[in-house]
């Protein structure tokens, strides 16, 4: 069966520090991968999605970047965090036109 792992669960980082959040999927090949952010009291905003290794589409201009170095690995990064980067980050995967499955999320607080 397929599983998705996302870590860390919580993170407190100072302004200006770098960020790396990792997401891995097991039990499937060539999944579509997604990074979402949920700001406090708001809905989920799609940040990045990827349909294959090295293929990244960005939905909104921002201080973040994403990479997919391996088929089932999706990384969210920042060189210098801003206060506005605080939020709840969710990784998800799906097969083409398939149902998404979500990771357990990372709660990032930038101080």
């Amino acid at each position: 069966s397929q599983t998705i792992h996302q870590w860390p669960a919580t993170l407190v980082q100072p302004v200006g520090s770098p960020l790396s959040l990792e997401c891995t999927v097991e039990g499937t090949s060539n999944p579509n991968l997604y990074w979402y952010r949920q700001a406090a009291g708001r809905g989920l905003q799609l940040l990045f999605y990827s349909v294959g290794i090295g293929q990244i589409s960005s939905e909104v201009p921002q201080n973040l970047s994403a990479s997919r170095p391996q088929d089932r690995q999706f990384i969210l990064s920042s060189k210098k965090l801003l206060l506005s980067d605080s939020g709840f980050y969710l990784c998800a995967w799906s097969l083409i036109q398939g149902l998404p499955s979500f990771g357990s999320g990372t709660r990032l607080t930038v101080v």
Binding site: R42, Q45, Y49, G98, L99, P100, F102
Partner: protein, 111 residues
């Protein structure tokens, strides 16, 4: 891309009451899902319902694809139903073919 609007944005119920949550979308869809986000942030899939009607215990959902809306019904609400309910869709082609969420409906069920 496809637009997803949910209403009402907030809902307060007394335990035992029934409620209807609405999701409107701007274009034809392949997939439509309803999620419940629990207090820990985990997204729990409730229904996959691109069309028709489904029931699961006290919850049921109906999607009228031709009129581009879906309804989630909660009967005999319980305090454990509290949380945020999201509707998410996948459109048919191009820019619409990514999983897109509405902003969510925050439900509070009071004892």
């Amino acid at each position: 891309g496809i637009q997803v609007e949910q209403s009402p944005p907030d809902l307060i119920l007394q335990e035992g009451a029934n409620s209807t949550l609405r999701c409107n979308f701007s274009d034809s869809v392949n997939n439509l899902q309803w999620f419940h986000q629990n207090p820990w942030g985990q997204l729990i899939n409730l229904f996959y319902i691109p069309s028709g009607t489904k029931q699961n215990g006290r919850l049921s959902a109906t999607t009228v694809a031709t009129e581009r809306y879906s309804l989630l019904y909660i009967s005999s609400s319980q305090t454990t139903d509290s949380g945020v309910y999201f509707c998410a869709v996948v459109g048919l082609t191009g820019a619409n073919s990514k999983l897109t969420f509405g902003k969510g409906i925050t439900l509070s069920v009071r004892p």
